[in-house]
Point group: C2
């Protein structure tokens, strides 16, 4: 069944690439109202493609922001039903002068397709749709039932997605979800993400005197808010990178040997090359990879207070502010962790200053699926068939809010099957996607859907 489909994709390489280029040429920048019509055009492109493939109930669903494109094909009888999620909106192209070719005129150089959205996420959305096209053209049907949900607000926080999914729960419900909006840990190393971190944060300001004071006249009299902030920050995490907030690690499953082995198998990143640091640091008792993938983190994202210009200004600042975020793992409730942080800061704030806390309203729970789940194992097998190399199983230190929403609304597993590479320069000038992954990724999907057809969930 798969051979003819692969042959179709092979024969139509040029046409498919040309069609992808049309999609990539639409500057569907969701954050900029100047591009409102472009965003609508990209939505129409997706809707037209779904109709052309043979999807039913194709609809451009209006939201209070940019529309979301829906379509479904449910002719596979008792086979599983998948919800495919992706997004057709892209990041702005600025700074435009750093692009070597125009961001919305796709160009192939040295095996890579350069364009805004080539990897994130138009290119990967297109691969899924092209595979559906191939199955329909060759066999007149898909191996599984598929519901498609392609939104236009991912790059601006998916502001209206949650309410649409929740309001139309029945329409979107499926046996599992699949997302191709991620990458492989290394070029040529097929990867399955089976976990994402959760997220919470807050900003705190230490208030001291009502205005900046002369350090000669008030030094030794008034508590310095910048120093008080430093003391407070230092209580949060020790130099062994262990968070000192009471209860922070409570309820987290210990990292078992099986998972430590999975993590060890993920090829290591050359951190010196990618970050410029000579030396990694990680939580005492864990390797850097383990900490990044499977242990929670607490980071200062920014801080400021007092005089920040050139030279010296001898003041005691009136206030100082720090921004904190945590990446969470399963077992940690974002709201509860935020409360522990608040309690910790309030407990440790020195006298003579006043603490003001702004809780970050956005949060996300961590997500993790058992790597032994058949949906995941089938993805691993499909990757191996296409890339000729065993897939690694990785957890991501980052968060993808839609995954948590799908999990919480539908209680269905999410398969993160992405084909990007660390060199894709998402959100940056000269975004690109390797042509080889375009074809191998489609090949993977052809195998995957065929494998899933037979899988008992």
């Amino acid at each position: 069944m798969t051979e003819e489909v692969l042959a179709y994709l092979q024969e139509n390489r040029e046409q498919l690439l040309e069609k992808l280029n049309r999609f990539l040429s639409i500057p569907s920048v969701s954050t900029d109202s100047v591009h409102k019509q472009d965003v609508e055009e990209a939505a129409r492109f997706v809707a037209d493609y779904l109709t052309e493939i043979g999807f039913d109930k194709v609809n451009i669903e209006e939201t209070k922001g940019h529309p979301l494109v829906y379509g479904e094909w449910t002719g596979a009888d008792s086979a599983p039903t998948a919800l495919f999620y992706g997004h057709y909106d892209v990041q702005p192209a600025d700074p435009i002068e750093l692009w070597e070719s125009e961001p919305f005129k796709p160009e192939i150089r040295e095996g890579r397709l350069y364009a805004r959205g080539a990897s994130d996420d138009k290119g990967q959305v297109f691969m899924q749709l092209a595979v559906f096209e191939a199955y329909m053209k060759v066999h007149g049907q898909l191996p599984v039932n598929v519901k498609v949900c392609i939104e236009g607000e991912e790059e601006i926080g998916s502001e209206h997605l949650y309410e649409v999914l929740k309001a139309k729960k029945e329409q979107f419900s499926a046996d599992f979800a699949i997302i191709s909006d991620s990458g492989m840990v290394d070029t040529g190393q097929p990867t399955i993400l089976y976990g994402l971190k959760g997220f919470t944060g807050l900003e705190f300001t230490v208030h001291g005197p009502s205005s900046d004071l002369h350090s000669g006249i008030y030094g030794g009299v008034v508590r310095n808010p910048a120093m008080a902030m430093a003391h407070l920050l230092a209580t949060l995490k020790n130099e062994e990178e262990v968070v000192q907030v009471e209860g922070f690690y409570e309820g987290i499953d210990p990292l078992d040997e099986g998972e430590r082995k999975l993590i060890e198998e993920v090829p290591g990143e050359d951190y010196k090359k990618t970050t410029g640091v000579d030396q990694t640091v990680s939580e005492k008792g864990y390797t850097a990879k383990e900490h990044m993938m499977a242990r929670p983190t607490l980071e200062v994202n920014g801080l400021y207070g007092g005089y920040q210009g050139e030279g010296t200004k001898t003041i005691i600042p009136s206030s100082a502010t720090a921004k904190l975020t945590c990446r969470l793992v399963p077992g940690q409730e974002p709201d509860q962790i935020q409360q522990l942080l608040v309690d910790h800061l309030e407990k440790h704030v020195p006298d003579g200053v006043r603490l003001e806390i702004k809780r970050e309203p956005l949060s996300a729970k961590a997500y993790k699926v058992n790597p032994d789940h058949p949906l995941i194992q089938q993805a691993g097998q499909a990757l191996e068939q296409a890339f000729g190399k065993q897939a690694v199983y990785a957890r991501l230190g980052g968060s993808i809010p839609v995954v948590e929403w799908i999990d919480s609304i539908f209680q269905m597993p999410v398969v993160l099957l992405g084909f990007g590479t660390p060199e894709d320069r998402l959100h940056s000038p000269n975004e690109s996607f390797p042509i080889e992954n375009f074809y191998k990724g489609m090949e993977t999907l052809v195998y995957y859907w065929a494998n899933i057809k037979e899988t008992r969930l």
Copy 2:
């Protein structure tokens, strides 16, 4: 001898005030090249006045910046010789819209003379000159020998003063120096400053990754420079306000009971009112007044790193920077203290980040004269004669570089006899000076010079 001089000042109140107003009307803003001619005009005003009084060798000495006015009167035979230092330049008037009357059109409201420079330092320079005028007019001579040095660059760091004083050491040398460029601890409370703090500082930057990193991808892998900076700052001073830098307090004379009593006699400031803080903090074992006047301080003047905009950006900052300054007391060498800070930071910097230190090139040694010194005691007596109230003896938490230069070049004591008040708003809109202090200050100076005439130094 003093009665006729006081009578002269009394009879010429209007003319003197009118002359002071002419001086204050010249916008001699030294930092702004637009006012170069105004600065020169103010210098000429001083030089003309000295000539008019009867000073010899009156000269506008050119420097690489603004000129300095010199003059001397040395007809007092064996009486002591005083070097009177002051400055004729002023701070900019910005923000001009906050002034209730024009900064360079002096106006009296509710017993105060409002004008830029009214207190700092044209008004106080003028008082000294007016007293010399009165002595010369009434007696044809001054009670003591006087050398006058009025510079035009005090508000921009006295950039060229040191080299002039050093190059013309003989010309400027005297038995002691007197400066009226300071204030009283409270309105109506005559004050003698007998000590100033020294000064040193540095800025340090903690460098981590070569650019801001995604906290999801690199959290748990890379040392966060903002957190590392917080840890470093927290090692510098504990929450009992005791500096933890090894050797910081070494060589400082303990605060003896006599001086603790002097400090206790200085009226306390209502810190809640002046700073807005509910509670003062000070070095363990010392009161706030003791710490401010007589113990060294270490303050964070400013810090910054990472994302400082609204909301959240989940990054690990590439670097974080803090600016530190110390106020020093006698027994502490500024260069040595700076070195101790550098050593401390280098010793405590955690691994995984790199420390960059910029040493503040400016420094000052602390200055202190024995409050029992006859020059000081005579000042106290003159203040009491004029204000009818016993003077308090205070040390200032701030630094006045010229005092240290005079001390180091000439090894002569410096008398700081100032008549400003805490309400004068130096460097701020609506600078003013109490009219009463204008007259009582001149009265003080009349007594002082008469007292000094008889003093054996």
